[in-house]
């Protein structure tokens, strides 16, 4: 799967969590723009983990602030598998 495909999948997975229908770009932030609280983050991360069959540990999550960083991280996790 290339980065564009990973991006497509994550865009689909984020939809139910994007309650305010924020237009998502690589620079969109989860805490600021999307206003995700800790519970939403847990459910959203679980959805990605289950779809891609990867682990995104809390340590890795702490490094991810924007949508683009998330796509990069998931893309890399898949490549490393």
């Amino acid at each position: 799967m290339d980065r564009a495909e990973t991006d497509q999948t994550i865009r689909r997975l984020i939809e139910p969590f994007n309650k305010k229908r924020v237009a998502i770009t690589d620079a969109t932030t989860f805490a600021g723009d999307l206003e995700f609280d800790s519970l939403t983050v847990m459910d959203f991360v679980a959805a990605i983990e289950d779809d891609f069959d990867v682990i995104i540990s809390m340590n890795q999550q702490a490094e991810i602030e924007t949508y683009g960083q998330l796509v990069d991280a998931v893309h890399k996790l898949q490549a490393d598998r």
């Binding site: 289950d50 540990s57 340590n59």
Partner: protein, 416 residues
């Protein structure tokens, strides 16, 4: 050299904007001030002027029934326990002034660890100065960089802090969700060290973990298992060893963490284990090494209390009756509770929001009842809870009195 009385030597002009390191607390300060400005009694600043028994105290000037102290077995005023503490004060003084690994291990610390080994029928016991340090120390020491910790998202702060201090990869799963736990274990890279951290009773809602299934799954994936039994010791399981005893999986659990500040009735924490190399922990576990050991009077009261808890089956039965009556009574009154059925000695009453919760807490206090107010972020799903923890020393009549207080306060605040 200072000549100034009211002015510092160096002029206090802040460069740039005026934010300082405390600015990050501004929202919390504003929220507290807002709440207290309404005339609300401060739920986090209660003073007990006099403690009459495990179940009664004078709080903010009022005679109050205690229903939020985790003093499950009522050992705090047990005559044998109090006497053991007094004797140790006389014989060994007020404190050890030293680390367990230097000058801080007295006869009493060894006797306390002997009592724990007997209580749990395990090979090793290590006593820490608090329960918080027991989790912090064991978790951070056994799971380090490159290892994986799989834990329930509703874990206690001491568990999270232990994970962070050890720098392991931290992978939480949805509360009590066996399938979510298994998926995460399955995805851990081959060869990595794995630790699963669970609690017997989760203290916010008073619900228990499905340990039979969870421990079996953890073992299937070759993980070590640590169970925090802080809220079940002395009460749940045939010998009071906790939910893992009740679930029949205690022999598959690698580490049990517990505390003296609940059923045991004093302060301190511990870890018991059958791991053959466990004793090395005493030398490598920083929260054990780099702090002073418990005072002799504390370990003497703890050891005496633990030995009495081994024979506490009658008290355990009465505590269950209390828990069932309070749970059933509150449910009948129309309160929303944390669990459908009583699962432990904690009954959590769910409040619609923080304002109503704080008002209800104050109404109960004025009725003469103390419960714990729990609010986000300490609570799951951002709930506001009134947590009630029962005591084996609450009489049947007291539980009925408590229900009457809840009914009047609930009506006054408009929750039921």
């Amino acid at each position: 050299m200072s000549e100034g009385i009211s002015q510092p030597d160096k002029p206090e002009t802040l460069e740039g904007d005026s934010r300082d390191l405390f600015s990050k607390f501004d929202d919390l300060i504003a929220m507290r001030e807002g709440l207290l400005a309404t005339g609300q009694e401060d739920p986090f600043n209660l003073v007990m002027e006099k403690v009459l028994s495990p179940t009664r105290a004078i709080c903010n000037g009022r005679d109050t029934i205690l229903l939020g102290t985790y003093n499950y077995m009522g050992m705090t005023f047990d005559p044998d326990v109090v006497e053991a503490g007094k004797q140790a004060l006389d014989d060994f003084g007020s404190g050890t002034t030293g680390s367990r690994v230097l000058n801080g291990t007295y006869q009493g610390h060894k006797e306390c660890e002997d009592a724990l080994r007997e209580f749990y029928a395990m090979d090793h016991a290590m006593v820490f100065s608090t329960g918080y340090q027991a989790n912090l120390g064991i978790i951070s020491t056994i799971a380090g960089k490159g290892d994986y910790i799989v834990l329930d998202i509703d874990s206690h702060a001491s568990i999270w802090d232990g994970c962070a201090m050890g720098k392991a990869e931290v992978v939480p799963f949805k509360h009590n969700d066996l399938e979510a736990m298994e998926k995460r274990l399955r995805r851990i890279p081959e060869g990595a060290g794995k630790l699963v951290v669970l609690e017997g009773v989760y203290s916010m809602l008073g619900d228990i973990a499905p340990l039979k299934e969870m421990v079996a799954v953890a073992k299937k994936y070759g993980a070590m298992v640590l169970v925090d039994e802080a809220h079940s010791m002395g009460f749940i399981g045939e010998h009071g060893r906790g939910v893992c005893e009740q679930a029949g999986v205690i022999d598959d659990v690698d580490f049990i963490i517990g505390t003296f500040s609940k059923s045991v009735g004093t302060v301190g924490g511990f870890c018991v284990s059958n791991h053959p190399k466990f004793e090395i922990m005493r030398l490598v576990c920083r929260p054990y090494v780099f702090t002073a050991s418990l005072p002799p009077s504390v370990v003497a009261t703890a050891a005496t209390s633990i030995r009495k808890l081994m024979r506490g089956s009658n008290k355990r039965a009465h505590l269950w009756e209390n828990s069932k009556r309070l749970h059933g009574g509150l449910k009948d009154l129309g309160f929303q509770l944390g669990t459908e059925e009583p699962q432990s000695a904690i009954v959590a009453v769910i409040m619609p929001d923080l304002e109503k919760g704080a008002a209800m807490w104050e109404a109960l206090l004025k009725e003469g009842l103390y419960v714990n107010l729990a609010r986000p972020p300490a609570t799951p799903a951002n709930m506001t809870l009134l947590r009630c923890s029962l005591c084996a020393e609450h009489s049947e009549e007291e539980v009925e009195t408590i229900l009457g207080m809840f009914e009047r306060a609930g009506n006054a605040v408009g929750i039921i």
